[in-house]
C-alpha cells in the first residue's frame, strides 16, 4: 500500500528499524508488516534495493551470518537518524494512527489524483476537438470551393425558394389533393432544372 510511505520516509524507517537491532532483510519486511497490522506489506523488491542504497551511502553495513546478510546501522546512520528526529516522530505518530487516518489519507490522495486526471483529460479532449474541427473544416473547404459564385448564387436561390414556399404553406388547411399537386409541380420544376444544367 503506497500511501504510507513517500519522499524518502521508508528509508528513514528502515534506519530506525536497524537502530533498534541488527536484522536481516526478511526480518525487516516482517517487522514492517507487523507494525502496519498487515496494511502495508513491502515486497523484497522494495526493501532490498533500499538497504543496498543505504549501504552505498555508508549509513548501514552488513555481515554475512549463516549465509544471510545481517544489516546493522553505522555511526553515520545514527547521525542521520538524529538529524531527522522530527520527521521520524511524525512518521511514528502516523503509524500509531488508525485505519481512519489511513482512510483519510487514501481519500485525499484519490481525490487529488481524480482531480489531476480530470483536468488532464479535459485538456487532452480540448486538443483532440480542436484538431478534429480544423480537419473537418479543411475537408469541407476542399470538397466545395467556397469561391465559386455560381454555386453560392444557387444556394441562395434555393434558400429563398424554401422560405417563400414555407411561408405560403404556413396558414390554412390543406387537402391531400393540394399536396399531390404541389409535389407534382416540384418534380416538374426539378426536371426542367436538370434539363437546363445538363445541356
Amino acid at each position: 500500500m503506497s500511501p504510507v510511505f513517500g519522499h524518502g520516509r521508508l528509508r528513514l524507517y528502515l534506519l530506525k528499524l536497524l537502530d533498534e537491532s541488527p536484522r536481516h532483510g526478511y526480518d525487516v519486511i516482517r517487522e514492517l508488516e507487523d507494525r502496519f497490522m498487515g496494511l502495508y506489506s513491502p515486497s523484497a523488491g522494495t526493501v532490498y534495493p533500499r538497504l543496498a542504497r543505504l549501504e552505498a551511502e555508508g549509513l548501514v553495513t552488513h555481515q554475512v551470518s549463516e549465509g544471510r546478510k545481517v544489516y546493522r546501522i553505522t555511526d553515520a546512520g545514527r547521525a542521520e537518524l538524529g538529524a531527522r528526529q522530527g520527521d521520524l516522530d511524525d512518521l511514528e505518530q502516523e503509524i500509531a494512527g488508525s485505519v481512519r487516518d489511513l482512510a483519510t489519507e487514501i481519500r485525499s490522495e484519490v481525490r487529488g489524483s481524480v482531480a489531476d486526471l480530470r483536468s488532464e483529460l479535459k485538456a487532452a479532449a480540448k486538443d483532440v476537438r480542436r484538431v478534429n474541427r480544423a480537419q473537418a473544416r479543411e475537408e469541407r473547404s476542399s470538397h466545395r470551393p467556397s469561391g465559386d459564385p455560381f454555386r453560392t448564387d444557387v444556394e441562395r436561390s434555393i434558400e429563398w425558394f424554401r422560405n417563400e414556399l414555407r411561408n405560403l404553406t404556413r396558414h390554412g388547411s390543406r387537402t391531400a389533393e393540394d399536396l399531390a399537386a404541389l409535389r407534382e409541380l416540384l418534380q416538374r420544376t426539378l426536371d426542367e432544372a436538370r434539363a437546363i444544367l445538363e445541356r
Binding site: 497490522m37 496494511l39 489511513l102 482512510a103 487514501i106 484519490v110 481524480v114 486526471l117 487532452a124
Partner: protein, 273 residues
C-alpha cells in the same frame, strides 16, 4: 451470536469475519482490507464519532454494522427522516472479504479489498475505492464514485453522480447515468467491454495506444471526438455516430448518449498519467 449496541466511541477486535455488511445514514465509513491474520478472519471495528446508536453483529462469519432500522430497501426512505444517526466507523477486515455497503449521506472509502464481490449503494454520499480488485456493483443517486487502481469489473448506475476511474485495469465497465459525467482512464484487458449509456452526462475515455478496440458510439446532439485515427465520426442533425476499429479490434466500446459529449483519448505507451 455476539452483538453489540454501540453508544459511545469504542474499538472492537474480532475474529472469524468472512463477510462485511455496513448500512449507515450519515458520517464516514472506511473499510480497509488487511493481509495479516487473514486466515483467522481478524477484523477491527473502530467507532470514533457517534450520534445515535449503531448495532454491530457477528453471525456465521458475517459482520454487520448498521444504524438501527435502516434496511437495504430503506436507504431512499431515510431521506427526509430527521432522526439523527451519524457515525465515523473504520473497519479493517481480511482482504478477501466480500463487502456490501449502503449509505444515505455518509462518505465511504473502500481500500485494499480483493474479493469476489463488492457492492456499494449510496444516495448522496461519495464513494472512494482504492486498490479494489473485485466484481464491483455501485449505485448512487447523486454521490460520486472515485476509484484508483481498480481491477476486475465495474457496474455503475447513477442519476447525477460522477464516475472517475484513475488507472483501472478491467475487462468490463458498464455504466448508466442521467447527468453524471464519466471519466475513465483504463487498461482494457483483451476482449474487454465498455458499455455506457447517458442522457446528458459526458463520457471521456482514455486507453493505451496499443489497445484493440471496436468502437460504436451514438448520440443525438452531443459531440463525438476520437484521438484514434481508425475511428471516424459522422455528423448528422439529431443523430451522430462514431465507429471504427483500433488495433486488432478485440475489445468493445459502446456508448449511447442523448446530449452528452463522447471523447476517446489515447495514452502514449510509456504511460504518462
Amino acid at each position: 451470536m455476539p452483538q453489540w449496541r454501540i453508544e459511545t466511541p469504542q474499538s472492537l477486535d474480532l475474529e472469524g469475519v468472512r463477510r462485511l455488511e455496513v448500512r449507515m445514514v450519515a458520517g464516514n465509513v472506511d473499510v480497509v482490507g488487511r493481509t495479516e491474520d487473514a486466515d483467522s478472519g481478524a477484523a477491527q471495528v473502530e467507532v470514533s464519532q457517534l450520534d445515535g446508536p449503531l448495532t454491530v453483529n457477528l453471525e456465521n462469519g458475517t459482520l454487520t454494522i448498521v444504524h438501527e432500522r435502516l434496511t437495504w430497501g430503506g436507504l431512499l426512505d431515510w431521506v427526509g427522516n430527521n432522526r439523527r444517526a451519524s457515525a465515523t466507523v473504520s473497519v479493517s477486515v481480511p482482504a478477501d472479504c466480500p463487502v456490501e455497503l449502503g449509505v444515505v449521506s455518509a462518505d465511504a472509502v473502500v481500500s485494499g479489498i480483493s474479493a469476489d464481490r463488492t457492492a456499494v449503494k449510496s444516495v448522496s454520499g461519495d464513494v472512494t475505492l482504492d486498490g479494489v480488485r473485485s466484481d464491483i456493483t455501485a449505485q448512487t443517486v447523486s454521490g460520486d464514485l472515485e476509484s484508483r487502481r481498480l481491477a476486475g469489473t465495474l457496474r455503475f448506475t447513477t442519476v447525477s453522480g460522477d464516475l472517475t476511474v484513475v488507472r483501472g485495469e478491467t475487462d468490463q465497465v458498464k455504466a448508466e447515468t442521467v447527468s453524471g459525467d464519466l471519466t475513465l482512464d483504463l487498461d482494457l484487458l483483451a476482449g474487454g467491454r465498455i458499455d455506457v449509456s447517458s442522457v446528458s452526462g459526458d463520457l471521456t475515455v482514455r486507453m493505451p495506444e496499443t489497445v484493440g478496440l471496436t468502437v460504436d458510439v451514438k448520440t443525438m446532439s452531443g459531440s463525438l471526438d476520437s484521438a484514434f485515427s481508425g475511428v471516424q465520426s459522422e455528423r448528422r442533425p439529431g443523430k451522430s455516430s462514431m465507429r471504427g476499429t483500433v488495433g486488432d479490434g478485440d475489445g468493445r466500446l459502446s456508448a449511447k448518449t442523448v446530449s452528452g459529449d463522447v471523447t476517446l483519448l489515447r495514452r502514449a505507451a510509456n504511460g504518462s498519467a
